[in-house]
């Protein structure tokens, strides 16, 4: 049985100029009240599920889970203990500056640490508005290893303002040298209503041109594969056996429960998500046990769209029978002829060229649906 549990910790030390996730800065004094609410919501949800679920993954995401005292995360772990399988993957996202908490996190049962490093060059870190130095990241990684983490993931970001391919290569090289079990490689995306979006609009943000970004991405794939990592999803690489089980749940159309503000859940073909405001979330949970903003029942077409969209993002690809759909087949053949899709046994996946154009290929495939 695969069932994921996601806990959202919105607190952050500072605002990253590219981030559009739900986060709050300077509200850490509310962490206790917030965690109380999270526990209430989690319990209400679990009771309404009927039989006690067994979660095979648990994920503390943010925000910055390491921004609050680890004891607060432990309260969740203690509370959910009976519903979490003994061999569960339990991840916490962490900031390299918070390494003094790592020991506790490991002690409380968290067995996977996802470090938000972003870059191993000080110039890029500064350009991304991060407060740690490259050396802090190396220290943090070492600290995580030292306290016992055997499954560490490093988040990297390419396409930082002013970044060159050489600089990016340096970050990649350092990462490989550290030998993490898992690496996520995200292209910087300018989301609307972020600080970066405003600067870009004013012409004050020097984002590398699209061709350079494409080159950085391809270079990362080559380097990481050469270093023995498996490219298993558009932006994710892992050593054998260390693919993120929690994320695979999302991508394999499996159920998950999200608790905390803005958290998303997927149960019984239904997607629902919580409100984004910290106060609203707490007040609603305190009053009713829930804080759902909206929910949607997936139509068969929507479900199919999601399966195709998520399937294509994985390197193992999509089951070929999805593409025999009469409204898809013609486009599938066309995309194959353009060498954007390829067939391996009974699965279809993006080619190397197709990876760069994944969104366009996907839209083109489903245009008639």
């Amino acid at each position: 049985m695969n069932f994921g549990l996601y806990i959202h910790i919105p607190f952050c030390h500072s605002r990253c100029p590219y981030c559009d996730f739900a986060f709050v800065v300077g509200k850490n004094h509310m962490a206790k009240r917030y965690m109380d609410a999270v526990i209430v919501e989690m319990q209400t949800r679990m009771q309404s599920l009927g039989t006690l679920p067994v979660f095979n993954t648990l994920y503390f995401g943010g925000g910055t889970p390491s921004a609050i005292p680890p004891g607060q995360l432990n309260r969740i772990l203690t509370n959910a203990k009976s519903a979490v399988s003994p061999d569960a993957e339990i991840t916490a996202e962490a900031n390299p500056n918070d390494c003094e908490y790592f020991e506790k996190l490991y002690e409380y049962g968290i067995n996977r640490l996802s470090l938000g490093v972003q870059a191993f060059t000080d110039r890029a870190l500064k350009a991304l508005g991060r407060f740690h130095k490259a050396s802090d990241a190396i220290v943090a990684f070492q600290a995580a290893r030292d306290v016992g983490f055997k499954n560490i993931s490093i988040d990297l970001m390419y396409g930082a303002p002013g970044q060159t391919l050489e600089e990016w290569a340096k970050s990649l090289q350092r990462t490989i040298e550290l030998c993490p079990e898992h690496i996520s490689v995200y292209g910087l995306t300018i989301e609307p209503q972020t600080n970066f979006a405003r600067r870009l609009q004013k012409g004050q943000l020097d984002v590398p041109p699209e061709t350079d970004q494409a080159e950085m991405y391809m270079y990362a794939i080559d380097q990481l594969e050469a270093a023995g990592y498996t490219h298993y999803e558009i932006s994710n690489f892992a050593r054998s056996g260390f693919a993120s089980r929690h994320n695979l749940n999302y991508w394999h159309d499996r159920p998950y429960l999200g608790v905390g503000l803005s958290a998303h859940s997927y149960l019984d073909n239904r997607r629902f998500w919580n409100v984004r405001g910290l106060k609203t979330y707490m007040q609603r949970v305190e009053a009713t046990g829930y804080a759902v903003e909206r929910e949607e029942q997936l139509t068969p077409t929507q479900h199919l769209l999601e399966r195709i969209m998520l399937g294509l993002r994985q390197r193992r690809g999509l089951r070929a029978d999805f593409l025999s759909h009469p409204k898809i087949h013609k486009q599938y053949i066309a995309m194959t002829n353009q060498h954007l899709l390829e067939r391996t046994d009974n699965r279809v996946r993006l080619t190397r060229q197709g990876l760069l154009l994944a969104d366009l290929v996907c839209t083109e495939l489903v245009r008639e649906l």
Binding site: G61, G187, T189, I234, L305, L357, D359, L360, R367
Partner: protein, 599 residues
């Protein structure tokens, strides 16, 4: 009614000079309508007419007016369409009258259309009563307009009626002038019937309702009758006079105006300008001046969604029931699929049809570049009329191409004459004469190719004259010119919907501007898109739209699959609104690009 007590007249005016408001005031003053029934601009019955402030269809209304001397008069007001596109209808309406009120705005003064209307009224031998309207406006320059009217018509100030239709000032004097000065109709009630159809409308319950003016004889209920142009016989099922509603009568005799319902199914069979006569004792000759109305401007209308083709057909059928001057026939475009080539009287007519399709039928359409009808002489000696640039024969087979030329009149304050001349030159105008209608206003006459005004001529004219220039035209002739077909190629494939016939001297500029415009409108795709303009096999300009190098969402936002799916759904719907030409996706706006070009 005694002929002596009938007055048939129309109001002629430049657009916006207050024609419909004056009509309202006359209806009110003659108590044809009570205040209670009044709605602004009663005679403009289409929403579109009221909104745009122009009369699209003619109307007729009878007013029974008791004059101060106690006599009762029958006043037939025949309202005419107010735009040059409909000048033939105006001309037919005038034929039905003995007099005309020439309405001039006290602030604007005489305009190009005023002049052409006067000429038209004179041609029809109408008695003209000059009327200055809006005398209450702060900007009114009554003395200046009096001078202009004096120069134009040779009238003295005492002969001019000064009114404010809006405020109801001077309306009684105007009614007195109508009775005293407009001659009563003449006609022989004992002669064989001759009645002119000056307009016809389609009533969904009764079929065609023709508006007629009887010149000779008597049109009686149930009499067998015949239409001259088709020689078809009908029975006059119902006849009557027109108030706001139709009032049944037993007969209409020489001099009278009214309506006729005779089981005519199709508007085309009751053409404006045709003559009705009796089947038993027919007149030998019809009334003079009948001509078939020919469309001047053509464009392809294509449904955005090919599923709407049949809806578009039925919408056009319905519009045509009320508008015999609209023509359409199916055509196919490699780029746009199945659609219709439509013929319009002019640009306004085209806009009106587009707007009605959108408003009344809710069909999304793409309109191709409007063009004129070319008369092509082939080397074989044959002659063909080309209404669609895509159908232009190969250059090698063409002896010459003739295009429609207009006799254009532009009336403009003298300080803008230079600007207007520059535009007219740009538009290949051939200068003819300048006349000064008063010391400050010049009337320029040009021979101007219709194709040159089809795009934005009128707007340009207005903008270089700070809005003061006015413009009127009529078709003059077809004349050979050095014209070439310019094709637009997308990745080597001709995009037929954007082909255009242009003058050789302008072809390069046109080709370059069009390809640049398209470059800006065609989104980046998976592959490079090459846009070329060509004359025959010769490429004259080239632009490229670079392909996407990278288009991939980095992160799938934790569990928020919904957000990514919605993005996909939006992109997918966006694709549905594009037209696929070969493998290239072209947004609808690209087909309108030409309309916004400044060449």
């Amino acid at each position: 009614m005694n002929l002596q007590n009938i007055r048939n007249f129309s109001i002629i005016a430049h657009i916006d000079h207050g024609k419909s408001t004056l009509a309202d005031r006359l209806l009110e003053q003659t108590q044809t309508l009570s205040k209670f029934q009044m709605q602004d601009q009663v005679l403009d019955s289409m929403d579109l007419e009221r909104e745009r402030g122009i009369t699209i269809k003619s109307h007729a209304i009878r007013m029974d007016y008791t004059a101060p001397d106690g006599q009762i008069y029958e006043l037939n007001l025949i309202d005419t369409p107010g735009h040059v596109d409909f000048s033939y209808e105006v001309s037919r309406s005038l034929t039905a009258c003995e007099g005309a009120l020439l309405l001039v705005d006290a602030a604007q003064g005489v305009e190009a259309q005023t002049v052409s209307n006067v000429l038209l009224a004179m041609e029809h031998d109408l008695f003209i009563i000059p009327v200055i309207n809006k005398i209450d406006l702060p900007g009114a320059e009554v003395d200046r307009v009096v001078m202009q009217l004096h120069d134009l018509l040779g009238v003295e100030e005492e002969e001019i009626v000064k009114i404010s239709a809006k405020e109801g000032i001077g309306i009684d004097k105007l009614l007195a002038a109508i009775i005293d000065e407009i001659p009563p109709p003449e006609g022989d009630p004992d002669a064989p019937l001759k009645a002119l159809i000056f307009d016809s409308i389609f009533d969904q319950y009764r079929g065609v309702v023709a508006y007629v003016r009887v010149f000779d004889g008597v049109l009686e209920k149930n009499m067998p009758m015949r239409l001259f142009s088709t020689s078809q016989n009908y029975d006059a099922e119902e006849i009557g006079t027109l108030k706001l509603k139709r009032i049944k009568q037993q007969s209409l005799s020489a001099g009278e105006v009214g309506y006729l319902i005779a089981g005519i199914k199709d508007l085309e069979d009751a053409r404006v300008g045709d003559t009705v006569t009796g089947s038993a004792n027919p007149a030998i000759h019809p009334l003079p001046g009948y001509q078939e109305v020919k469309p001047m401007v053509f464009a392809g209308l294509y449904p955005v969604s090919s599923d709407d083709f049949e809806n578009l057909r039925s919408a056009l059928e319905k519009l045509r029931l009320n508008d015999a001057s609209l023509s359409y026939e199916p055509e196919t475009s490699t780029a746009l699929g199945f659609g219709f080539r439509c013929g319009f009287l002019g640009l306004l007519h085209m806009e009106i049809i587009q707007e009605r399709l959108d408003r009344e039928f809710d069909i999304d359409i793409i309109t191709t570049v409007p063009n004129v009808e070319y008369r092509v002489r082939l080397t074989s000696g044959e002659q063909v009329d080309v209404q669609n640039p895509a159908e232009m024969p190969p250059a090698g087979n063409i002896e010459d191409i003739a295009e429609p030329i207009l006799d254009a009149q532009i009336l403009v304050p003298s300080e803008y004459v230079g600007n207007i001349m520059r535009i007219a030159q740009d538009r290949r105008g051939h200068y003819r004469t300048t006349e000064y209608i008063d010391p400050t206003r010049a009337l320029l006459r040009y021979d101007l190719p219709l194709s040159e005004i089809v795009l934005d001529f009128y707007d340009r004219l207005k903008s270089v004259s700070r809005g003061y220039a006015s413009f009127d035209y009529e078709y003059k002739k077809h004349q050979a010119a050095d014209l070439v077909k310019l094709d637009l190629l997308i990745n080597g494939e001709p995009l037929d919907a954007l082909s255009a016939i242009v003058h050789r001297d302008k072809a390069y500029e046109w080709g370059r501007a069009l390809s640049q415009k398209l470059k800006a409108l065609i989104p980046r795709q998976l592959f490079e898109v090459v846009i070329q303009a060509a004359i025959g096999a010769k490429i004259i300009s080239r632009e490229t739209v670079r392909p996407f190098r990278k288009n991939v969402t980095a992160k799938c936002y934790g569990g928020d699959i919904t957000r990514k799916r919605k993005l996909l759904e939006r992109q997918k719907e966006g694709k549905k609104r594009m037209k696929q030409v070969g493998a290239v996706e072209i947004p609808q706006e690209a087909f309108l690009a030409v309309l916004q070009m400044e060449v």
